[in-house]
């Protein structure tokens, strides 16, 4: 392992949302990761961070950089997702008007994370929380 970082994301803190992703982008730039990979990680991480702030009770983003790949784990303490197939469907969202007015709630986030990650795994349990593990090859 070349690098590991754990960042907290608070529930409902729309003002601070995005800071964790910015930090991750900074670190990947310092580590000399290619801009193509940084873009994919940044987009997927930022969608995950916004989901934590908007939909979860709070959570963490864990960045682990290895020699050949890096992983981004996004996990929260609840409330969990009832129907994962539905949640993954582009356009499906439970976001309210306040979230829409901020430019989110199109129902594209999980779809987009899956699109940008080389490997995407999501597990969720009502009452326990949601965990997403994304892997990105460093080429």
């Amino acid at each position: 392992m070349r690098y590991k970082l754990i960042l907290d994301v608070k529930r409902g803190d729309f003002d601070a949302a995005g800071e964790a992703s910015r930090k991750i982008k900074d670190i990947l730039q310092q580590l000399g990761v290619s801009s193509k990979v940084i873009r994919k990680v940044s987009i997927a991480g930022y969608e995950g961070e916004m989901n934590l702030a908007i939909h979860s009770l709070g959570g963490k983003i864990i960045l682990e950089v290895g020699e050949e790949e890096l992983s981004l784990t996004i996990k929260d303490i609840g409330p969990g997702i009832d129907n994962l197939d539905l949640a993954m469907t582009a356009g499906w969202s439970t976001a309210d008007d306040k979230v829409r007015q901020m430019g989110f709630g199109a129902g594209m986030g999980l779809f987009n994370m899956n699109k940008h990650a080389d490997n995407f795994l999501i597990t969720s349990k009502i009452g326990a929380g949601t965990k997403i593990v994304m892997k990105f090859s460093l080429e």
């Binding site: 729309f14 003002d15 949302a17 995005g18 992703s21 910015r22 982008k25 801009s35 940084i38 873009r39 940044s42 987009i43 991480g45 930022y46 969608e47 916004m50 901020m102 430019g103 989110f104 199109a106 129902g107 594209m108 986030g109 779809f111 987009n112 699109k115």
Partner: protein, 116 residues
Amino acid sequence: MKLSLVRDLLDAVVLSGENHLEEEIYFAFGCDLMSDVLCFAREDAILLTGLVNKQVLNTVDMANMNSIIFVRNKMPSQEMIEMAKERNLLIMATRHILFESCGILYQHGMKGASQI
């Protein structure tokens, strides 16, 4: 076209990132939904939007884009301008509405930036 021409065509004021004005841009994306930008916009495009908040800057920054045009006379806060400067993002504001702004640029050869 050069970003300085974009500024002139839209009669816009530049609020940060003047250093980008001589860069050539060929593509644009106009929308208020940040997830659509993150999903479909290419990184060498400018974003035109009527949404003004910090998440617009984060979105453009995370997508490796570097220029934003706020339409319909919407002015970003001083805090947003400082944040844009820190991240070296160009932001400008125009009185034109989104439809007109896109139309003016399209008429002058700017292309849509979807990468579906």
